[in-house]
Symmetry: C2
Subunit: 732 residues, 2 copies
């Protein structure tokens, strides 16, 4: 609306300069190479005298600094260090320095740098006071000086430009801009003064340094694992992460504050509002991009985004969470991906998921706005919340999936997990929303002909039934439900619920008469293209036999709980003797559900029933299991030696698979590669081999994923132990 | 970026319907006029039978409801009521009703109305359960029924459509859409269950019903008063306020929540982000619109905005606050305009206003980013904060002036005044920012030749020296500084400051050696075009005489503290005997400052000095007083009778006034009118008379304002008592 020229005119009475929001400079140079202190006075001589001090070389000492700062794995030519901890640089002058020599090292970020904003840091040789980063001369070796420099533990995270300036008389002479001396500064989970300090070394290794992860999906009774390559150390990723923050226009001066940083970063991972990294797509048509299930990790997505400048198509919650996790770990912020099974998406901001049914027991989708996702993935970051009471420190929920706007943008958190557990919803940010995701009650209403709703069934345990993440140091599932909730109906739980209500959460208080009749559904795990066998159990706790008019509704659903396709309805009657259980076995054949599946793998069964005055409801989601790819490696399993990986698959079905895309990736080993097969006939096979040269040693993982237009996803994985180089040299 | 069609496709797996954000419907009609319960079944007869019940007339009973709901003053043809309190409607049928008759009243707002969102309210005749608004038949009179309806105290605020439906058999027959029965629902400060409940009747009269206000401006030592016509009851204003919320796309279902409502409303009053009501302009060139000083009230601004659909040029803080106050009072939310003198605008989010000086004591404007506004205006709203601990309830700061973005948008608050006083900055929203506005320390730094800063002077009392608002029921100033702060350095104040620091406020802890030398500046109030006489007092508390090398810098400044024009520098030396004070009198002549003034009226004097080891600083802002207009009335001073108002002025200066615009306005009396005079020669006069017909009785006010291109603002005011109509009828 207003050009920046106009803005600066109408705001002349307010600002002297625009607020910097990028790591880059606006102008060609930060400082002049020569500077005179006094404009009026002439320099004493036009050229520095013959024995004047001047800088010959600045060495960022990568081979010493990187191991000390746990940044060896970054595939980048520059020095990467963590704040709050000393690193060294070696400055070589034209001659040995003497006591009177005055020089300073200047670190600069963004345009218009200023000491009061933390964007210009001056480290002196000790004869004068510098700014907040401390410096000390550790050693003098002939013409060389080794300087130890310690950034503050709340310093700005990003890419600094480095200058060395020599002051003689009234002249400052600076080194020229040299991008080889650029310095990347990260958060430091090893530093007790840093807000992201994490005490346990095993946890730091997992939550900062592990490039591989497992994201849990599926159904609470049949949890599946998806491998995800975070790849935070891969070539180009650190630069990509910083350029994303720049793009998001996060003011440079706030990038030392982790709370603000992660909140703003959660907004930029999705494309809403700000044209950020990933475009969500919860439909079934992915023809304008790649299906969310086809990704093997974050690196490809981040690189595509920064290379094209266009949001990447497409993502669903675990893709948002995977990419966000990479960004966080890459910047040194402890992060993990969480899965919440039966996640409530409440559109009204109360604690009720309202499901509306018609008088004939069928679901009224037009009037049902809320939904329950089979699972939802978000991230946790570990932050000492200096902005909140101390018990709010620790793990914080952040969520990049665009569910609802938080205070105007699609973003969520950081929201203290401890505060959620205790119902302390009065602290920023978004505690109420996350609280509802894990604690909502399901309330089923019947809508009468006048449009009036009456509740007939309430379930207080279905939502947030299991919250889990990958365990530290092993590929296992860690149940962290207890981090979010006390035991249902315990005194602590009641206190939490009361408090949440005090802070504006509207809970269900429907007075339902106690029902003597109930129904439940169970099913064994089912492979794709097998028939589904349901056991529907009707329980009669009354002293009279009851006849139930029952209705089964079967749908294919998205993992968001929204119906993709309606499969069938089925009415049946069952009589349950007093104080007994009656089981009805129902079969849904492959032929019935297969035409409705598309890309989805979730079937939802809802049984409703009426037995005189009692209403009964049960919901069951069945996830169809898909087959695995075979992944094998051969070759020398050593850094810098050639190796091979082979992915193979045989179509076990009686129909051809079409438009098949197979992808392979292994952090530190092989970058994202894909291959296309237009059709794989029934019982036909493929076998695809790629060669690669490992970059990093140790326990590593390669994943392979296959997607096609007429079936869900198949995947495979192999773990390999890569030996170090024979000469013991680590490439930096 | 995505068309709505594309959005709905990619999000098919997530939402069934878009989120309504407007009071209007999307479609032509909410409901069909005839509805059959069962699509399969035919209606029993094609037309209702002869004695079937049908609605003849729906009367909203304005003359009874409006006085009961304190909404008589709204100049609008529809019924306006407040939530949480019963209103009545009279329904006339074709015959007296009998016990079996079934009918319901339906209130609907926005598109896609739903009972679970609070956007469809069904009030029944009592034989069935309705939704949350309660209804009862108060009286039956022949064919007429008088129904009492009580909206819930947290109902959505806005414009509801009203339908009456008669149910007979399986047919519903509804009244047609009729905009005469549309119902405006407001917040209710008289209702204890409403979050905006205010106990005191005098306060309710002031903060909800008073259409006139005073906004304090100027300097802490010479506070000036500006009259502002809120005009919340004027024709078109209530519709304008609702359409602004629609434009802001505030989801309809959240408009019952006052906290969310005022936060989002604070964003839409400024044009940033959302193309809202007012464009800020803190420069000196207002040629593309009207100068901020030229407005007399809010009505003209709001009407211009909704009529043109384009943000109105131009505003500064008191205009944003005045218009926001109108919007709030118009919707029934208790609101008042606050002025904070010496308001800190801290751009780094710490508690320090950093002023940078060069080594020669002159100010280094390039490196000074923070500023102190002579005054800043914001609003307070009274809300019981159900989302926070109970001590956070009461007055809340909201600020529509676009100072800094709050969590991504230009908006601010609601921020609990009690929380600010106690340093409880851990609660939403924006407590830290407001806390800094009233509590920052001024830290003067000297910047050495290496770019290093060292603090040399700290002032902990200058910022937020006086916070005030108009008193209840009288045109006086009420000092509310104590609402925001404890006594400086009291134990409570120290506890507040410690707590603020705990929650991340960075305070000044410069260790300055105690100075035995100090300086202060005082000046008498000065009329425009009079010379300014400054008394500069140097105080020596040491036991040795001291000679001060002093420097006076004089500038014309914007009220934001930013320099508009530099007037002069002056060096002088003064010797102060031991333990004595030495006064230096300095004169600045009209001839010196007048060429620099432009539209501004603030002169800032900064004295800095050096006396051996001691640095001295003092700042003084002098506001030039402008002359008054004469405003007189004649005529009958009675509702519906003709009256006259005359504004007159004589140019007292020796130079001509150019491009003179005079404006007149009086809420309930005369709408905003302007007249233009291209030039008023020295000693020349004008006298301008307008006729008008008073709409509302009681104590009323008319203001007149004059602005011109080469002088500040002049204004005048008259209070009149308007008599009621002779026949005692109140027009509704």
């Amino acid at each position: 609306m207003t050009s920046s020229a106009k803005e600066s005119n109408t705001h002349r009475g307010r600002y002297s300069e625009p607020v910097p929001t990028s790591n880059l400079m606006y102008d060609d140079a930060d400082f002049p190479e020569f500077e005179f202190f006094d404009d009026q006075a002439m320099p004493r001589s036009n050229a520095p005298s013959r024995d004047a001090l001047s800088v010959v070389k600045v060495d960022m000492c990568q081979s010493i600094n990187k191991p000390n700062h746990y940044t060896v794995a970054y595939d980048i030519k520059n020095l990467v260090v963590r704040r709050g901890k000393q690193f060294i640089i070696r400055i070589t002058f034209n001659r040995p320095i003497v006591k009177e020599d005055d020089f300073q090292v200047e670190f600069v970020i963004g345009s218009n740098p200023s000491p009061s904003k933390g964007t210009l840091l001056v480290v002196t040789s000790g004869i004068r006071k510098g700014s907040s980063w401390s410096g000390t001369i550790l050693e003098e070796q002939g013409e060389s000086v080794i300087l130890g420099i310690t950034p503050t533990a709340n310093a700005i995270v990003g890419k600094f430009r480095t200058y060395v300036a020599v002051i003689a008389g009234n002249i400052i002479q600076r080194t020229k801009r040299n991008d080889e001396t650029d310095l990347y500064l990260l958060c430091n989970a090893w530093c007790p003064k840093d807000a992201v300090f994490l005490e346990d070394e095993a946890e730091r290794k997992e939550y900062i340094l592990n490039e591989n992860g497992i994201i849990f999906q599926g159904d609470v009774n049949a949890v599946s694992e998806t491998d995800w390559m975070y790849g935070q150390f891969e070539m180009g990723i650190l630069d990509a992460c910083i350029s994303i923050l720049d793009r998001c226009r996060i003011p440079i001066s706030t990038r030392g504050n982790v709370v603000q940083l992660v909140r703003m970063a959660s907004a930029v991972v999705n494309s809403q509002d700000d044209y950020g990294v990933l475009v969500g797509n919860w439909g079934g048509d992915f023809s304008m991009g790649k299906p969310p299930t086809s990704w093997t990790g974050s690196a490809q997505i981040l690189l595509q985004y920064v290379n094209t400048g266009v949001p990447v198509c497409y993502a669903q919650c675990w893709v948002f969470a995977g990419v966000f996790n990479t960004l966080l770990r890459c910047l040194g912020i402890p992060a993990r991906v969480i899965t919440n099974f039966n996640s409530a998406h409440d559109s009204t901001g109360n604690l009720k998921i309202d499901l509306i049914f018609r008088m004939d027991n069928s679901q009224d989708r037009r009037h049902t706005m809320d939904s329950i996702w089979n699972y939802h993935c978000w991230n946790e970051v570990f932050i000492n919340r200096h902005d909140l009471p101390s018990h709010c420190s620790g793990w914080q929920v952040v969520d990049a999936t665009p569910q609802e706007t938080s205070d105007g943008f699609y973003r969520c958190g950081p929201s203290s997990v401890n505060a959620i557990k205790d119902g302390l919803l009065c602290h920023p940010f978004d505690c109420g929303f996350v609280f509802a995701e894990v604690n909502s009650d399901i309330v089923c209403h019947r809508r009468d002909r006048y449009g009036t709703l009456s509740a007939f069934w309430v379930n207080k345990t279905y939502v947030g039934m299991l919250i889990c993440t990958k365990a530290v140091g092993k590929n296992e599932r860690l149940d962290i439900t207890h981090n979010y909730k006390y035991l249902q109906d315990s005194p602590e739980d009641n206190r939490t619920m009361d408090r949440a209500e005090e802070y504006g959460c509207e809970r269900d208080h429907s007075e339902l008469k106690e029902s003597k009749m109930s129904v439940s559904i169970s099913a064994e795990p089912v492979q794709m293209c097998q028939d589904v066998i349901l056991a529907v159990d009707f329980q009669n706790q009354g002293d009279l036999p009851k006849t139930v008019q029952a209705h089964l509704s079967e749908s294919v659903i998205f993992y968001t709980g929204v119906t993709a396709s309606h499969v069938k309805d089925y009415d049946f009657t069952v009589t349950v003797p007093a104080n007994q259980m009656e089981r009805v076995m129902l079969k849904v054949t492959t032929e019935e559900y297969l035409p409705h599946l598309g890309n989805q793998v979730s079937l939802r069964f809802v049984v409703t029933g009426q037995a005189d005055e009692y209403s009964l409801t049960a919901i069951k989601v069945v996830e169809l299991q898909t087959p695995h790819l075979t992944v094998e490696v051969s070759g020398q399993l050593q850094v810098q030696k050639e190796m091979f990986v082979t992915a193979s698959f045989t179509n076990p079905y009686s129909f051809p698979l079409q438009d098949v895309v197979v992808a392979i990736e292994g952090s530190g080993l092989i970058s994202y590669k894909t291959r296309f097969y237009s059709v794989i006939e029934p019982q036909a096979s493929y076998s695809w081999t790629e060669s690669f040269i490992p970059r990093l040693e140790g326990q590593r993982r390669i994943v392979a994923v296959m997607v096609c237009s007429n079936l869900g996803r198949a995947d495979g994985v192999i773990d390999v132990e890569i030996k170090a180089r024979d000469d013991g040299i680590t490439d930096l």
